[in-house]
């Protein structure tokens, strides 16, 4: 296993064990700014881990970033790892990030679906859901991005357990979702939530479960455009911006709708690149360019959240 994060390859894909080992080294090396929190256990009893970036204070306003809720979207975990390293590398150098971290905390859940991710390495690279099973149900897994309470059961999800968008038997039935809900609810001061998926180069905001515009739609659209522009300036990758239901399709029971309805005004979901050729099988050579451009967009959203307290 890697002995220190400096020898860890940020331009490669890694297994769950390698990522969790990297986390331990990372937290040890940057213990002044990063800590590791276990927020729960997955269906197959793997730890669900969150990295906390904090420069002090308590109960500060905070930003939540998650990657890998759909396990086959490997570019998202890799982007999360690179972003974590970027945060500790830039603190004290990049004034924007330094201001953000001097006032707020950042929580990052890099492997949001550990069972599914392990399964993509062991058995089925194209697995999307978690690995939950229930008596009498023939197919395995729930789509964790259809299991949230907001809009649960709407026509943007499926009640067929064999479907890739199976919502699960009830809202937050899945431990991977319930762990996040409990953590964010208990924290009570999360001001932005960013859920990172792939692929199709979009930056979207609520609602997914309905076409009804959210109250601060104009602000979210303007912020998404600014963030997409910052991203574009790195490698010229163009993103589409808008609400999920009007830009993509109606999707019910999704993370960002729950976040928004829980009072987190700045809720966004990214669909990272594939540049139209590789889909979920984006070559590792594109990890760093993808992570780098995404960083500029994340930074724009975090800066806006810092400058617009509510």
């Amino acid at each position: 296993l890697e002995r220190s994060t400096s020898s860890f390859s940020y331009s490669s894909y890694h297994t769950l064990e390698e990522i969790y080992s990297w986390m331990d080294n990372f937290v040890t090396e940057y213990s002044d700014i990063v800590s590791k929190i276990r927020i729960g256990h997955s269906f197959e009893n793997r730890s669900i881990l969150v990295l906390k970036f904090s420069t002090g204070g308590s109960q500060r306003r905070a930003i939540w970033i998650d990657t890998g809720i759909h396990s086959r979207e490997w570019i998202t975990h890799a982007t999360g790892i690179w972003t974590a390293k970027k945060i500790v590398s830039e603190y004290g150098k990049d004034s924007t990030l330094t201001n953000i971290l001097d006032a707020m905390d950042i929580f990052m859940e890099i492997v949001t679906n550990p069972d599914g991710f392990a399964f993509t390495h062991s058995m089925n690279r194209l697995w999307r859901k978690n690995k939950s099973t229930r008596p009498g149900i023939f197919c395995i897994g729930v789509d964790l991005n259809r299991n949230w309470k907001s809009g649960f059961g709407g026509n943007g999800s499926n009640d067929n357990p064999c479907s890739e968008t199976y919502r699960g038997p009830s809202p937050q039935s899945e431990p991977e979702v319930a762990a996040i809900v409990d953590f964010i609810t208990a924290h009570g001061n999360i001001k932005a939530l960013i859920s990172i998926h792939s692929y199709s180069q979009m930056l979207m905001y609520p609602y997914g479960h309905s076409l009804e515009p959210v109250p601060n739609q104009k602000e979210l659209y303007s912020l998404a455009k600014d963030a997409a522009q910052a991203l574009y300036e790195v490698h010229g990758i163009e993103y589409i911006c808008g609400s999920i239901s009007s830009t993509l399709y109606v999707a019910s029971g999704i993370t960002v709708d729950w976040a928004y309805d829980s009072g987190i005004k700045y809720s966004f979901t990214f669909e990272l690149r594939d540049t139209g050729r590789y889909g979920f099988l984006l070559p590792a050579s594109q990890i760093v360019p993808t992570a780098h451009e995404t960083w500029l967009a994340l930074r724009a959203i975090m800066q806006h959240t810092l400058n617009h307290p509510y």
Partner: protein
Amino acid sequence: QMNFTGDQVLRVLAKNEKQLSVLRDLEGLKPQKVDFWRSPARPSLPVDMRVPFSELKDIKAYLESHGLAYSIMIKDIQVLLDEEREAMAKSRR
């Protein structure tokens, strides 16, 4: 590890809502056969779907019979998976 030799990802450009619903019907016609990587959403957006080698002929005939234009985005998934696995092993070394 599941093997995806010969499986392809087809990129379909639906012209209108009617063609999108023809694609959505596929999920019912071929349950657990067609894996939408990009689900049917709106005419301006491509639909990407992974088709197992054994279903390729049927699915392509279905698309053509409904006038749906498609291209082959990934010719053989297993080739990319082998490259990905080799890259991970190399990085680990």
